[in-house]
């Protein structure tokens, strides 16, 4: 099992790289071969990643969420899985490169820096916590996806407006579809984040004796939740659509990234386990 984990740890970035490369080749070079193999490659990669995560969980006796590098690998996985789901639902297969490149970098960082922790912080061995982390990470991947689609929307929007009919114009799906993909991702992310917050707040008093509801991590998360919430509300009530909404999906993701990195690493009171 140990050998298997070690082997897969190095194999995964390679698999992601090959997948990203074939998606790029299909998008930028219009290669027929790449178009044929890219989705099967992605399925294989995600499948391997699933095996890897299961193997880690069994071998170390806890889910792979005990340090930031394990989490990075899980994020790479959830992002790729979310993309695969979206590709399957919408049948739009051209945008993979822009999403999977994120997975590749997350997994690469994880592979290089990961340490094997057999005895993790006992607080982190809780079922509620597993639920909390799973929904939060899936939610963040959904936000990442929506930011990518928002970014692609804005790119295509400007290309069409300024009469640039190049690779971007040729290969991206239409604006309406990109907007729908971004919006669906935001809704999914928003629901998952809501679940994560509720579970977190329930779990908090059980795990810690001293805690504050004004902890920077909690405040940061509420800001993310509000940013997306206001965006969704504006779409529903005052009919925001198009570019403005897409800008918001990117802003939301930037706030999310800040909360994940700056707040977690430098400011957090209790949410600092690693």
């Amino acid at each position: 099992m140990k050998i298997f984990i070690l082997y897969f740890n190095y194999l995964l970035p390679v698999l992601y790289w090959i997948t990203v490369w074939s998606y790029a080749k299909a998008f930028f070079r219009n290669s027929a071969f790449a178009k044929k193999v890219k989705t099967p490659l992605l399925v294989f990669t995600v499948g391997s990643h699933t095996l890897y995560l299961i193997a880690r969980t069994i071998y170390f006796g806890h889910p792979p969420i005990t340090n930031i590098y394990e989490i990075l690998s899980v994020l790479a996985f959830t992002t790729a899985l979310s993309y695969l789901t979206i590709e399957y639902i919408t049948k739009v297969k051209s945008t993979g490169y822009f999403v999977l490149v994120i997975s590749f970098f997350f997994q690469l960082l994880s592979t290089v820096l990961i340490q094997d922790l057999a005895n993790a912080n006992p607080i982190l061995r809780s079922n509620l916590l597993g639920f909390h982390v799973a929904s939060a990470l899936l939610g963040y991947s959904a936000f990442a996806l929506s930011a990518v689609y928002g970014f692609l929307y804005i790119m295509l929007y400007h290309h069409i407006k300024s009469n640039r009919f190049g690779v971007i114009y040729d290969n991206l799906p239409d604006l309406e579809k990109l907007e729908r993909m971004a919006t669906v991702s935001v809704v999914i992310g928003f629901v998952l984040l809501t679940v994560a917050i509720i579970v977190g707040v329930v779990w908090l008093p059980r795990a810690f004796e001293h805690y504050s509801y004004f902890d920077p991590k909690l405040v940061g998360t509420i800001v993310i939740w509000l940013t997306y919430g206001i965006g969704l509300l504006a779409k529903r009530s005052i009919g925001w659509q198009g570019r403005k909404l897409m800008v918001l999906s990117i802003v939301g993701f930037v706030v999310t990234m800040l909360s994940l990195t700056v707040v977690n690493l430098f400011l957090s009171g209790f949410h600092n386990f690693y």
């Binding site: 069409i160 407006k161 009469n163 239409d174 729908r180 005052i238 925001w240 659509q241």
Partner: protein, 439 residues
């Protein structure tokens, strides 16, 4: 194969000359019959607005000697049939022979010889003219094979390359743009203002792609009503454009007017009222109908003739870059054709025939040899070999001698023999249609 081609097309002659040599479907039977009678064993004509081409298998008994030098007679008859000798000069006509003529037909079928590259309307025309010639019995083994191969080349070019992709007219470019902004045109509504020809064409294409509804406004209402009869949809008042802009997604303007019919201020109001839903404005008017600053408004996409032409140019360049890939397909099919022709030679056919009989014989002998005693086995082998040799002796000699028949006739005979005995291994192309269907 003595394949010859006489033709005139958009490269060698202008329309006023080309049209003199255009054959209607009603004129073709007589022309085919006469040409076949005088020069060919098989022939067929493709005649469209861009080309008239006569393909024929030269009958060496009717045109003795060097076919290429003697095809002038056929040219004269072709021109004479249309009484066009006044306007069609020798320099307007081109002639190709053998492989080159076949390659030319393949180029035509794949669209790389068309006026607009990749326009393969021509494929249907070849098909219908082929059927016509077929009904007139001027098609034989060779032209049948040639045209079927040409049709396959056209199909392969369409599916294996992108030679036919992308809009190459301004009207289609407008539809392409609409498709880059909206997912489903059948849920979108369009408004056409003015009755200019290009605008009408663009609207027609939108209707062709199933746009949900089309409204038409024109200064003279009668003209708008006429267009509605043609395209469907409804007429709206020209003077009250603003309210009509509220629930549409595509606006096409082609009005001849010295002033802008739509200003940024107007459209700003409209966009606010339609809660900023994306609007594609295609301005085909010259001078422009819509103020260029409109493009600065959020979710408004303004495109004029220049930007549509840019799409067209780009698509044409892209199609041109596919020519190499199409030529590769043509080469493959030419080689296939060549293999087929070679297989129609006498000596390979005899050896294939012998090989086939021998394989049947040896298989059967092998299967039953154990029933014979050791000392008889050699004899069985010998006797069966003799039977096969005797059976094949007469056909072989007859094939070799040919009894003074023409090369064409002997090819036909060999074609039949190969078909009868299933001797197709020298013809890689023979199985190709099955594969195509699976693609």
């Amino acid at each position: 194969m003595n394949l010859a081609l006489i033709g005139i097309n958009h490269r060698t002659a202008l329309l006023d000359v080309r049209e003199k040599l255009w054959f209607s479907d009603a004129e073709l039977p007589h022309a085919l019959a006469q040409l076949k009678d005088q020069f060919f064993t098989e022939c067929f004509i493709v005649s469209t607005c861009n080309r008239t081409e006569l393909y024929g298998i030269v009958d060496v008994q009717k045109i003795p000697g060097n076919a290429s030098a003697n095809l002038k007679g056929a040219c004269d008859v072709l021109v004479g049939l249309k009484s066009a000798s006044q306007s069609v000069m020798p320099q307007h006509l081109y002639q190709f022979y053998g492989c080159k003529a076949a390659a030319h037909l393949f180029k035509v079928a794949s669209g790389i010889d068309s006026m607009v590259i990749g326009d393969i309307q021509i494929l249907n025309q070849i098909k219908s003219h082929y059927n016509l010639a077929s009904a007139e019995r001027t098609i034989g083994v060779f032209l049948n094979r040639l045209v079927q191969t040409a049709l396959r080349v056209g199909k392969r070019a369409r599916t294996e390359t992108t030679i036919c992709e992308g809009a190459v007219s301004v009207g289609y470019a407008a539809v392409e743009l609409a498709n880059k902004i909206f997912s489903n045109l059948s849920e979108k509504r369009a408004l056409l203002v003015g009755a200019g020809e290009t605008g009408e064409l663009a609207a027609k294409n939108l209707v062709g792609r199933g746009i949900a509804s089309l409204s038409i406004a024109n200064r003279t209402r009668a003209k708008a009503e006429e267009l509605v009869q043609d395209l469907g949809g409804n007429v709206v008042e020209f003077d009250q454009l603003e309210p009509s802009l509220l629930d549409i997604d595509v606006l096409i303007t082609s009005v001849s007017s010295p002033q802008y019919i739509l200003t940024p201020d107007q459209l700003r109001r409209v966009m606010k009222a339609r809660s900023n839903a994306p609007l594609l404005v295609i301005d085909i008017g010259v001078p422009r109908n819509v103020h260029p600053d409109v493009n600065k408004l959020e979710n408004v996409f303004l495109h004029d003739v220049d930007s549509l032409s840019r799409i067209v140019d780009q698509n044409l360049t892209r199609r041109k870059s596919e020519i190499a890939a199409v030529n590769k397909i043509i080469l493959e099919e030419l080689i296939g054709m060549r293999h087929w022709l070679e297989s129609l030679q006498v000596s390979p056919t005899i050896s294939d025939l012998r090989e086939f009989f021998e394989s049947v014989r040896s298989d059967e002998v092998k299967k039953h040899i154990n029933r014979f005693s050791e000392q008889d086995r050699e004899l069985v082998d010998l006797v069966t070999k003799r039977i096969v040799n005797k059976l094949l002796h007469l056909p072989t000699t007859n094939l070799k001698n040919g009894n003074g028949e023409s090369a064409e006739e002997s090819h036909k005979k060999i074609h039949i023999i190969r078909g009868l005995f299933g001797l197709h291994k020298n013809e890689p192309v023979q199985n190709k249609p099955e594969q195509d269907r699976n693609l």
